[in-house]
Every structure is written in C-alpha cells, then in structure tokens.
C-alpha cells in the first residue's frame, strides 16, 4: 500500500500554503505584481487568467524554477521551493524514444520512492497505475507512438508515483478526453482528501476546485467556490 500524502489538516499549527506579495518578471517586464493568497490543506485552487497573465510564471516561481522578484511563498512556514512538490508544466517530461514503462520506472527511481525500491514493487505499482490510466495496452510502446491524450495521461501518472503534499499543474485538462478528465478529478479529490494541496492553472473550469484566483486584473480577487 503506498503511503498516504502528508496530512496537512491534522497538523494543528499548519496554515497551509501562503503566498505574500509575489512579484515575477518575465523578459524584463513586470508580469505579476503583489499577488497574495492562501490555500489550506485539502484545498484545490483554480488559477484563472487570460493568456499571458502570468499563470505559468506564477506556477514556475512557486516551484522554484524561476526567481521571485519580491514576496514569499511558504508551506507551513517553510519556503515552498524547498519543499517536495510535483510540477507538471506544458511539457510532458517524457522521453520520446523510451517506452511507457521505462518512463515511469525512470521517475520511480528518480523520486527515490522508498516503497518502490525493489523491481517487483515497481512493476506492481506501475502496472496498477497504467491500468487506472487505461494505458495497459501501451506499456511497451514508445512515447512517440502515443496520442496527445495518452501522453498527457502518462505525464499525470507522475503524480502517483511518489506522494508529495503540493501539486502544481499547468493546464492539466489540455488534450484530455472525458475519461481522462474524470480520472484527473478523481486523483485530485483523493489527494485533497488526504490533506494535500493542488494549484492548477486552467482556461477551462476546474470542477474539483474549492477556490479560485484570477490573475491579470488590477487587484487579484480570491473567491471561494467555483465560478
């Protein structure tokens, strides 16, 4: 049984994910200015905004991939970028000339998940994940031979290999068909139920979101509930 995600709600002093006065530049221009929000354990935040409003940059800044010009993002008082998190960006992070199984096995080794140390454990877990993703028939296929939707599902599989408290997802719904979307909502719900946090940027409404944040306005508004 894979270990559950770190439970944030049960930790009494936990104040979840806190972002204060975040400022991000891109290409020399001010993109995001003075954005603050708070996401408690078990919540899913839907990041909204037009193209170019800085959704991707904010996610990348949260992950620590680009620098924050100003402000601070913390998870339980620790810098978020130092914490373990999952980030799934526009790119799939998959090796084209490797098979589906090889890609997942690579990530299992990369994340050094303790419950996947043995080859037999990995095989079992990967087979289970692929079954949930409806990719079992493609287990030995090269990623180049997959459809866009299948690649996207495979990219999402990463989330399940190693449990991490925070998930940062950039346009996760793209290229997913209805079945894929249902699966995504399922795993997000399960993650949040265990106290995890999800922050997803998306053009389309995110049904599982408990709060939303819109970028690109004069002052970002944070509203609870989905729009």
């Amino acid at each position: 049984m894979p270990p559950t995600t770190k439970s944030l709600v049960s930790d009494s002093r936990s104040n979840g994910l806190d972002a204060r006065e975040c400022t991000v530049y891109r290409g020399g221009h001010l993109l995001i200015e003075d954005v603050s929000f708070n996401v408690s354990g078990g919540a899913a935040l839907w990041l909204k905004g037009k193209n170019g409003s800085g959704k991707t940059s904010l996610l990348r800044a949260m992950a620590g991939l680009i620098p924050l010009a100003d402000g601070q993002i913390t998870l339980d008082e620790e810098e978020l970028r130092e914490c373990e998190l999952h980030y799934i960006g526009h790119q799939d992070g998959l090796k084209a000339r490797a098979s589906v199984y090889e890609n997942l096995e690579f990530y299992a080794a990369l994340f050094e998940a303790p419950h996947l140390a043995l080859k037999s454990q990995r095989k079992q877990e990967i087979t289970r994940i692929l079954k949930d993703l409806s990719l079992t028939s493609k287990v030995d296929a090269y990623v180049t031979d997959l459809s866009a939707g299948q690649k996207r599902r495979l990219a999402l599989a990463r989330l399940l290999i190693a449990p991490r408290p925070v998930w940062l997802l950039d346009e996760p719904l793209t290229a997913l068909d209805d079945q894929g979307r249902d699966y995504l909502y399922k795993i997000i719900d399960k993650h949040c139920a265990g106290g995890g946090i999800v922050i997803a940027a998306s053009h389309e409404p995110l049904d599982c979101a408990t709060q939303s944040l819109t970028l690109g306005q004069a002052t970002p508004t944070q509203s609870d509930g989905d729009s």
Binding site: G64, L65, L85, Y87, G89, K95, A98, F106, L110, A117
Partner: protein, 219 residues
C-alpha cells in the same frame, strides 16, 4: 544514489536510441575515408599524420555533436523535473557529463584503432593514442557541456556551439596530440598527466557554469 544511476543509464540509452553514438562512430570513418582522397594515399604520409589527425577528427566529432547534448532534455521538460529534485543540480549535471563520456567518447575510442590502421598508423602508437583519448575524454565532455548549455535555447545551434567550444578545446588538443611523439620515443607521460589533471579540474568546475546557464535557459 538510485536517482543518479537512473539519470546516467537513461542518458546512455537515449544517446544510443537517438543515434548519437552511431553517428559519432560513423563520422570517424567518414573523415578517415575522405582524407586520402584529399592528400593522396601515400602510406608514409598517412602514417606520419595519423595520430594528430585522429585527434583532430575526435575534436571535430565533438564540436559537431555537442549541440544535441541537452537539446532533448530542454525540449521535453526534463530539466524542470531534475531541478525540482532534492539533489544538487550540479551533481546531476556531472552525472550527465559522465554519461556523455561513456556514450560518445568511449565508443569512438573503441573504434579508433581500426580507423588508425586504415591510416597506416604505427601499431605501437595505438595504446598511447587510445589512452590519451580516454584520459582527456571527461574534459571534452565537461567543456563541451558548457558550450551546449550556453546555446541550449537556440534552435539549430550546432555551429554556434562549435564556435564557443573550439577555443576551450585547443589546449586539450595540443596536449592530446603530443602524447604520441616520434615513433622511436615512447609515450609522453607528462602530457598524459596534464590531460588527466585537466579532466579532473574541468569535471569539478564545469558543472557550475553549466548549471548556471541551464537555470537561465528559457524553455
């Protein structure tokens, strides 16, 4: 430790599957085949220039293939994932540099004796030549990685990478080619020592330059 081994082995397997390894070996033989058409098949001449020429071909092979070193990782978003890991990015880079050494340079070194014999090289010079390439290889990968990283975000950066890396390779080429002296004298052991020292130094220092460049590269 598992993570490093996974990165190392995946890089080697990908280099093979993408054809980088085969292309490097093929280029070795392309160059060796073209040479006699240019300078004539006179065996004495070929024998004299063979060691230095093989070194130059190795340098050219590297210059022409380095732009592909980080290209796929940048394009498919792998670097994002590697940056997110708990491990020091510089050590990950060093792992990739070593993978490049094993995936590209060692295969070329293996086929080098055959290429050398095609050029009528003195058989006694072959061990020294191979040793010089094996000892200098890590430096070639480490310095080449700097060029590859600096131009990683540029499309079709082959010639740009070659231009950047060429001055870095000149000292290595000088010492590498000097290992084989006149056929009568033995190996130039001090040159081999210098090559080994350069390899150690570049392996330690270049990951920092490479990491700094890759962190700033726009995907």
């Amino acid at each position: 430790m598992r993570a490093y081994w996974a990165i190392f082995s995946q890089d080697i397997i990908m280099a093979w599957r993408l054809g980088n390894t085969s292309l490097a070996v093929a280029f070795l033989f392309i160059a060796v085949t073209l040479l006699p058409f240019g300078v004539g098949p006179e065996l004495a001449l070929l024998k004299r220039i063979a060691p230095g020429l093989l070194w130059v071909i190795l340098i050219l092979t590297m210059l022409l293939s380095l732009d592909r070193l980080f290209q796929s990782d940048l394009e498919d978003g792998s670097f994002d994932q590697l940056l997110l890991l708990n491990h020091a990015f510089e050590v990950i880079i060093l792992t990739k540099i070593l993978a490049h050494y094993f995936a590209i340079i060692i295969p070329v070194a293996i086929f080098l004796p055959i290429a050398g014999l095609m050029l009528n090289i003195d058989a006694s010079a072959l061990p020294g030549l191979a040793l010089s390439i094996l000892l200098a290889g890590p430096a070639l990968s480490a310095l080449g990685a700097i060029g590859a990283a600096l131009s990683a975000s540029v499309q079709r950066s082959g010639l740009l990478t070659a231009l950047i890396v060429m001055p870095l390779y000149v000292p290595i080429l000088i010492f590498g080619a000097s290992v084989i002296g006149e056929p009568s004298s033995g190996l130039n052991w001090s040159s081999l020592g210098v090559l080994a020292a350069i390899s150690l130094a570049t392996m330690m220092l270049s990951p920092f330059a490479v990491a700094a460049s890759l962190r700033g590269a726009e995907r």
